[in-house]
């Protein structure tokens, strides 16, 4: 066990730091030390940066990536820990924007724009709900106390540890084998799955072609799901007489 820990401290250190940070930030009444949590969190982020995110490409791309990643992670942590639901929604908007930035880095500009548009609408509506429905004075008790803070964070970080361990093992293996073994795709299947030239990857045309040739059924199903969800939402939404806002 000890040897395992010493072998994998690269993995365990950021996890432990992150867990302490999130655990400290969990809403549990008036007493929590944000400063301490911030220190732990920053330390954890730095650990992740140095042990997990080596410089991978042009400087500008790295800077963008690190910025967006930090935005996403910090925003996520604050979203799930903030006492005020309005702030939480705002943090989620930040996370969304950061993820859109990461999409851009993943040569998916269309998704980036589409996500902004979709989530702008969704989050605005969420905002309305939060503002109109949430507590009337101050933050409510249920926003100030988390349920199972310790167990939940522990299991969440255990899951994260499992995922990152996988990344470490197979990522290292893949790097050793020249990057071909990461996701072993049987020969001949990749070419059929909407494979496009790398320079063409980000264009709307290639996404559209992929969507309406290989995944046309998926698109149809998505459309059906949307229709059903619309009907469902209309049916579920309670009606009220006009002028009684």
């Amino acid at each position: 066990m000890t040897t395992w820990i010493t072998e994998h401290w690269r993995l365990l250190l950021p996890l432990a730091l992150g867990w302490v940070c999130v655990w400290l930030l969990m809403p549990r009444g008036p007493h929590r030390s944000r400063a301490l949590a911030g220190i732990f969190g920053l330390a954890g982020l730095l650990a992740v940066k140095f042990y997990w995110l080596p410089p991978s490409g042009p400087l500008l791309q790295d800077i963008f990536f690190l910025t967006f990643a930090a935005m996403a992670i910090i925003g996520g942590v604050l979203m799930i820990t903030d006492h005020n639901p309005v702030y939480a929604a705002l943090w989620f908007a930040i996370v969304t924007l950061a993820v859109c930035g990461l999409f851009l880095l993943n040569s998916a500009p269309f998704l980036s724009a589409a996500t902004v548009i979709v989530y702008a609408g969704a989050i605005i509506v969420t905002f309305l709900f939060v503002i109109a429905l949430a507590q009337q004075s101050g933050s409510a008790m249920y926003d100030r106390r988390a349920s199972h803070p310790t167990l939940a964070t522990l299991s969440g970080f255990l899951l994260l540890g499992c995922l990152m361990f996988t990344l470490q093992e197979w990522g290292g293996q893949a790097a050793a084998e020249g990057g071909n073994a990461f996701l072993k795709v049987p020969a001949g299947t990749t070419a059929n799955l909407g494979s496009v030239a790398t320079e063409d990857l980000g264009s709307l045309r290639s996404v559209g072609r992929s969507l309406f040739t290989d995944y046309v059924y998926a698109v149809e199903i998505a459309g059906t799901v949307l229709l059903i969800a619309t009907i469902g939402a209309i049916c579920m939404a309670p009606r009220r007489s006009q002028g009684n806002l």
């Binding site: 791309q61 969420t126 949430a134 969440g156 990522g171 990749t190 998926a218 579920m236």
Partner: protein
């Protein structure tokens, strides 16, 4: 074939977002935030998909991300409609109020469930969430209302 270290970075961020979303789903008791936490998990998944799509040079990842986007939009619409319905019943967003399916005589998880008294059925005007500096948490019980 894309850049392996870039892919690894994206995957790490995706995994962290997913785990954070899971934690948020488990800990937040506000119905709306539970839904947002689920969306956070979806973000992590989308990130994974696009990263792998770029790594393999296919548009499949983006196509699936479009699916994820669709599903998350549906989820948002339905979940908000549900939340609104639930809120109208109890005048509260606390998920722990909806534990009717549990065994009846178990001790409650949180002591503060009973603090939420049911609000009046109809409110003439919505009382909006205040934006200013938060009031200090009462250290002791609030003073009795003046007669």
């Amino acid at each position: 074939m894309g850049d392996l270290s870039h892919l690894q970075g994206q995957l790490v961020v995706g995994a962290i977002l997913f785990a954070l979303g899971a934690i948020g789903f488990l800990t937040r008791r506000n119905l709306i935030l539970i839904m947002l936490s689920a969306e956070l998990m979806l973000h992590g998944v989308s990130l994974n998909l696009t990263a792998f799509g770029q790594y393999h040079g296919t548009a499949a990842g983006q196509a699936f991300t479009v699916m994820v986007l669709t599903v998350s939009a549906c989820e948002a619409g339905l979940a908000l409609a549900l939340i609104l319905t639930l809120y109208r019943r109890r005048r509260s967003l606390d998920v722990n109020l909806w534990s009717n399916l549990g065994e009846p005589d178990l001790p409650k998880l949180a002591q503060d469930i009973l603090e939420v008294s049911p609000a009046p059925r109809e409110q003439p005007l919505p009382k909006l969430t205040p934006a200013g500096p938060l009031p200090r948490y009462p250290k002791s019980a609030p003073p009795a209302a003046k007669p």
